[in-house]
């Protein structure tokens, strides 16, 4: 028995050591354009990417070829981004990589990725939010292959129970403003005697930036000045105060809870929820919940509908020696056919007008709602090299504002945060 165990261990040691020899050959296929993606090959997204690459190799057989590698990321992008950073320091970046929307500016500013305008043949077809997200200093560095969005999910049964006529609810053409939205919340709180909406305040990460910055934009405000050098007089102006007062009031008046229970909307605990396309897929597992989706509430001053957007993109590494082939591949990756494939596989929002036409008959009415809202009101997050710090300050501002007792003076809170943003921008 002991001997057997020993043999087994030796065999394992052997695999570990000999395995190195074999790999060198495998990775020496240097003619192929190397592509790194942040998802795993088992996900629908990864599978779709693999078929697209296979199609590319078939179409350009003998001319160009591509090889894809899957590097699954963890929740916050860790893992994959750490690996990109490490590859950068050792000069081993692939020819094409995926990156999250907010990273565009930092990567472009550092000279990691190259402009790709000249390679894109369908730029006019892309949604404005996609172009905005991938453009830094006038050049397009990255191109998103899908979009995302958030709407207000509502539980039809619970709303009816509270006496709300579903026919009168907010629509994309005629969206409710914050006050009307709060009235609905008041009715629901009165009926059920507990918080009405899960806005995701417990997720103190990028979500708070992504989902709450549209309120500021709807009000006409902004986070930093146009040239991206300062937040003074911008993030602490009247518009910002109004937007954050609205966020604070949602908690103060007991409409939203800062500690929602997990899947509260799905189990009928809360009648309302901020949710995205992934929520639609999740809800397929909860057939008892009948739901609809409303657009984002707008500022009463402007009435302008603004919704969150942004997702992962493709970019070309600046150090690649296969620019032409890589450019061809990126263009191929964002062709209508490829984009349609990935959009349907992953149940996400399309990134181009032609793709919207392709998919709208094939997806659920709920997803179509988000697609329509997105094409009319999507706003990209700011394209700044110091985005991570700026975003974190914004996240903390949202989170701090929900502690209304400690931070009843929004103006003071914002003045304080402006300093932090300015400090980050000056680095």
């Amino acid at each position: 028995m002991k001997k057997l165990l020993l043999c087994l261990i030796i065999a394992m040691l052997f695999t570990v050591i000999t395995a190195c020899g074999g790999d060198e050959e495998a990775s020496s296929d240097s003619d192929a354009v190397s592509v790194w993606v942040h998802t795993s090959k088992e996900t629908p997204e990864g599978k779709a990417m693999q078929t697209i690459i296979d199609r590319f190799n078939k179409k350009y057989d003998g001319e160009y070829s591509a090889a894809i590698e899957f590097i699954p990321r963890s929740g916050s992008g860790g893992g994959y981004e750490d690996k990109i950073n490490a590859a950068l320091t050792t000069n081993t970046l692939p020819d094409i990589l995926t990156l999250d929307g907010p990273n565009t500016a930092a990567y472009a500013d550092a000279g990691m990725i190259a402009p790709i305008d000249e390679y894109l043949t369908n730029k006019d077809d892309l949604l404005p939010s996609i172009i905005e997200q991938g453009t830094y200093e006038g050049k397009m560095y990255a191109v998103g292959y899908s979009e995302s969005g958030v709407g207000i999910f509502y539980n039809k049964k619970m709303l009816k129970e509270a006496g709300v006529d579903l026919a009168t609810l907010s629509t994309i053409d005629n969206p409710w403003d914050w006050n009307q939205f709060m009235e609905l919340n008041q009715t629901l709180v009165d009926t059920f005697d507990k918080p009405a909406i899960d806005m995701g305040f417990d997720d103190q990460s990028e979500w708070l930036m992504y989902a709450f910055s549209p309120f500021l934009w709807s009000q006409g405000g902004s986070i930093v000045s146009e040239d991206g050098t300062s937040a003074s007089g911008v993030f602490n102006d009247e518009n910002a105060v109004k937007a954050f007062t609205f966020i604070q009031n949602m908690v103060k008046k007991g409409y939203a809870t800062i500690t929602p229970v997990e899947k509260g909307f799905h189990t009928g605990e809360y009648p309302l929820k901020f949710g995205g396309s992934w929520t639609i897929t999740e809800l397929e597992e909860y057939p008892d919940i009948e739901y609809g989706i409303m657009p984002y509430p707008t500022s009463p001053d402007t009435g302008e509908l603004v919704s969150p957007s942004g997702s992962w993109q493709y970019a070309m590494s600046a150090t690649t020696d296969k620019k032409e082939a890589a450019g061809k591949l990126i263009d191929f990756l964002v062709s209508t056919e490829s984009l349609t494939e990935i959009t349907l596989a992953n149940s996400v929002l399309p990134a181009a007008y032609s793709v919207i036409e392709e998919v709208q008959d094939k997806v659920s009415p709920e997803l179509n709602f988000l697609i329509e809202q997105n094409s009319k009101s999507a706003h990209a997050r700011p394209v700044l090299p110091a985005y991570p710090q700026v975003s974190r300050v914004f996240q903390q501002t949202v989170s701090d504002a929900t502690y209304y007792k400690e931070n009843s003076d929004i103006q003071k809170l914002l003045d304080n945060k402006v300093e932090q943003i300015n400090k980050a921008l000056s680095k």
Binding site: S76, G78, E81, D82, N85, L88, T89, A106, Y107, D109, A110, G111, M112, K194, P195, D202, Q204, S205, T257, I258, T259, V261, E262, E269, A386, P388, Q389, R392, Q396, S399, D400, Y403, E406, A424, K427
Partner: protein, 292 residues
Amino acid sequence: MNTNKRENIAAYSFLTPAFVLLGLFLIIPSILAIYYAFTDYYLLTPDKRQFIGIGNFIEIFKDPIFLQSLKNIIIFVVFVIPIQVGTALGLALLINKQRKGNMLFKVAYFSPVVLSLVVISVLWLYLLNPSEGLINTILVNIGLDPQPFLSSPDQAMLTIVLVSAWQGAGYQMLIFLAGLQNIPSSVYEAGKIDGVNKWQNFFHITLPLLKPTSILIMITTLISAFKLIIQPMVMTQGGPMNSTITPVYYIYQTGFSDRLIGYSSAMTVVFGIVIGIITLIQHKATKEDETQ
């Protein structure tokens, strides 16, 4: 002289494998980190790295979040050490015995250590939910006020203390158990003949013989408590209002999210020195104790 030389050679040959590996994967990277602390290294432009002297260090002492994180971690350490180590010792003594079904208890007490933090954080967030959670339901039923726990800047860190101690105690328990099992039972048998009772047994035989293990556990638990990162990362993301941000978490954020490797390395150096001094004091204190 000759044997001395032979012993030196033997000792070093036993040390070589470990120190070669430590040198490659820990010492060299640490030395590089110390060097980076004096540069303006931005993660995405490694080639443009420049030496900037002690600039980073001056900034650290003006950084309110870093100072807040130091305050937070001290609160954590002060509470977690006695609770966690005490629980661990208690559990180890309790199950260091031959009895029916003992293995089941051993598995139970150790299980939080091997469980994924995903499970632990999902469950505890549920249990600790201020409005729906089980813990508050119990508190209200026995006539106490419900508590905000993780959602309150005052209670969040203490809640993390309790969850960490609960989760980590099994780890130290395992080491205490090994220490207990290393005590020859002949010692106890000698005691039995002398007619000492259980308590005397514990204070005069078990505890003194467990001393080296206890010192080891105190030092290593102290150091790893200072390096707390995962629990606040998954349970509170450092909030609310920075009340659970810890130095290593902040260093990680600055280095990998904000990409300011230079600045984050400088914080690592400062924080390393702080832990070093505290460990040294603790080490000295336990040493003196030993000579009494």
